[in-house]
């Protein structure tokens, strides 16, 4: 015990600790990569789905979106937004909104899959709109390079070239896309949730959307080839890192170097 506590005070100890921390964090980041499987389902709605969905809607959504989803002061009309919009907003937890703010925040989903499907069925019955995408367009078998080009042209300015997210005006932001399922990415593109523009099939074809999803899933699965990605935020996080960690470790070394040995 005594030997340990003495060693702890040793001038080398701080540096050793720093080094160890640096190595461990770096190593962990470098090795850890996550793979996310997009789930896809094709659904047909029954009359009972629509009926149940209507009840759920009246109980949970109508306060803002109005009875019959015709809209009110506090929420837009949902006639014609389609099942895709409902699935995206409800399954990602954005709706029902926790509070009024610049934009609806992602949070744990408030309804289970069955309920979400019923509400989607109800809203889809009110008017034609984008349907929940079929599994065929969600596969990760697309052309990642083509998807990358489309992503950089149409998406990177808000979501960042590495899909790490970015700021919009007055408190709004484009979220990071890591961990978002292919289905939700697809639905976001066709419905244009909140301030995101709509990318209909005439703008980006279904194959193009599949390519984008393939690209996103591929870079997410790959991780950064150079080690920890520091949030993929670009030169700002790199600058912070070199000032705090890089110079910090070097200063620790200079202090050790110029201190007197006991």
């Amino acid at each position: 015990m005594k030997a340990l506590s003495q060693k702890r005070r040793h001038p080398l100890a701080a540096i050793a600790l720093l080094l160890m921390g640096l190595l461990v964090t770096g190593g962990l980041y470098a090795v850890a990569t996550t793979v996310n499987q997009a789930k896809a389902d094709t659904t047909t709605y029954s009359a009972s789905d629509v009926e149940e969905g209507g009840k759920l809607f009246a109980a949970n959504c109508a306060t803002c979106h109005g009875m019959g989803a015709s809209g009110s002061q506090s929420g837009p009309s949902l006639v014609g937004v389609g099942a895709a919009a409902v699935d995206f907003q409800v399954a990602t937890g954005r709706m029902p909104m926790e509070m009024n703010g610049p934009q609806a925040q992602q949070k744990p989903a408030q309804f289970n899959e069955e309920q979400t499907k019923q509400m989607a069925a109800y809203v889809a019955s009110l008017g034609p709109g984008p349907a929940i995408p079929e599994a065929g367009v969600l596969g990760e078998k697309g052309d990642a390079a083509k998807g990358g080009e489309l992503f950089r042209t149409n998406c990177a300015m808000c979501h960042n070239a590495a899909a790490a997210g970015g700021a919009l005006t007055r408190g709004k932001f484009a979220p990071a896309l890591a961990g978002v399922s292919g289905q939700h990415i697809y639905e976001a593109m066709v419905t244009g949730p909140q301030n995101m523009p709509v990318f209909n099939d005439a703008n980006i074809s279904p194959e193009g959307k599949r390519d984008i999803i393939t690209f996103l899933k591929q870079i997410e699965a790959n991780g950064s080839p150079g080690g920890a990605d520091l949030g993929a935020l670009g030169p700002v996080s790199e600058g912070l890192f070199v000032w705090i960690a890089g110079l910090g470790v070097i200063i620790a070394f200079t202090i050790w170097l110029t201190s007197r040995t006991s």
Binding site: G27, G192, N195, M196, V198, A202, P225, L257
Partner: protein, 357 residues
């Protein structure tokens, strides 16, 4: 603790003098006595430090081996995965780090623990002595005298003139670094072709033309002029001026000025994507607020007010591209932009009227 005075009872609160103008000062006690280290007195400690240094050098050898092994054992073939590259990078770096830190910390530990650590005082010498100065002055005087430059002003003056002019060719020779600026900045590919054919709006990057019906409300299309991808020369130069953002709003939300009444089609509007601040692509479209945001410096433009600047460092609205629909239903530009696109430049005002003529 009133007694713990800072010696400043009668002065302003922030001044603390030692009471008198002529202050006697503490004498410099000199360099503190040398304190011995453990390794100086205890041979065992010295031996231990010696072993530690050797161990650190040994770690360096291990690091070098790690580097060599990971360089030769991991081959980056064409089928190498990202994980392989990451692994090799990490191992090469770890090897280098051990190799370098082993040597570095070893040497420093050696210096700190085993080399004598007596502080030494060395006198400073005057950077310039008066003797040297006088000698230098004499030498310069002799040199000046021997050249006779003072006595022969003709030589001096012609030399000065020649030397002053001689660098001019060195400047002039850079004249071909680039062409002189001309009206190219005022023109883009959107001008109708020589046969009067209007340019169609095409998708970026694949270049397929866009029908008005494709652009639903809330959509944003990134647009290039038809034929841009077929250019063999200066493609990026043209693209840097001609990229456009195409959006569709509810027509009631647009408030066009009278002269731009026919520049939109059914709520579809096209604006230059190049920021009027310093030229980044203003590509962020918020479909509910109808704001365009530049991600570089956050200039914000309001689509409903003809892209007037509502926030940020830009001064001018984004130039609008007048559009219409051709007989096949495709969107076309009815003319070039009516002003130069992109960042402001000195001659811009003279170029404003050119595209119209």
């Amino acid at each position: 603790m009133g007694n713990h005075s800072d010696g400043s009872p009668s002065h302003s609160g922030t001044v603390a003098t030692a009471g008198q103008n002529e202050v006697e000062k503490f004498q410099d006690p000199g360099i503190p006595p040398h304190r011995l280290r453990l390794a100086d007195t205890d041979p065992r400690a010295a031996k231990k430090a010696e072993r530690q240094v050797a161990l650190l050098f040994g770690i360096s050898v291990v690091g070098t081996l790690i580097f060599l092994v990971s360089y030769f054992a991991i081959d980056l073939g064409n089928d190498s995965s990202i994980a392989t590259i990451r692994l090799q990078n990490a191992l090469l770096g770890t090897g280098t780090a051990f190799a370098m830190l082993g040597i570095g910390t070893g040497i420093v530990h050696w210096a700190k623990a085993l080399m004598p650590d007596h502080e030494v005082s060395e006198e400073r010498h005057a950077i310039r002595t008066e003797d040297d100065r006088q000698a230098a002055v004499r030498i310069v005087d002799d040199i000046v005298e021997e050249t006779g430059i003072k006595r022969r002003p003709l030589i001096r003056n012609t030399l000065l003139g020649a030397v002053a002019l001689a660098p001019l060719p060195a400047l002039a020779i850079f004249g071909d670094l680039g062409p002189r600026p001309d009206n190219t900045l005022a023109h883009t590919m959107w001008a109708p072709g020589p046969d009067g054919k209007l340019k169609r709006l095409a998708r970026d990057p694949d270049g397929t033309p866009i029908k008005a019906a494709d652009v639903t409300i809330g959509s944003a299309f990134h647009v290039i002029p038809e034929g841009l991808n077929e250019l063999t020369e200066g493609k990026l130069n043209e693209k840097a001026k001609s990229v456009v953002l195409l959006m569709r709003l509810n027509p009631e939300e647009l408030h066009p000025s009278p002269e731009r009444a026919d520049w939109a089609y059914n709520g579809i509007v096209a604006y230059s994507k190049i920021c009027t601040h310093v030229g980044c692509p203003v590509a962020l479209y918020e479909q509910q607020t109808h704001h365009l945001l530049c991600p570089c410096h956050q200039s914000t433009f309001d689509l409903t007010q003809q892209c007037k600047v509502i926030f940020g460092p830009a001064s001018r609205p984004l130039p609008q591209l007048p559009i219409a629909v051709d007989s096949e239903g495709y969107l076309v530009a009815t003319s070039d932009f009516h002003e130069p696109v992109g960042p402001t430049y000195w001659e811009r005002e003279q170029h404003v009227l050119i595209p119209n003529s």
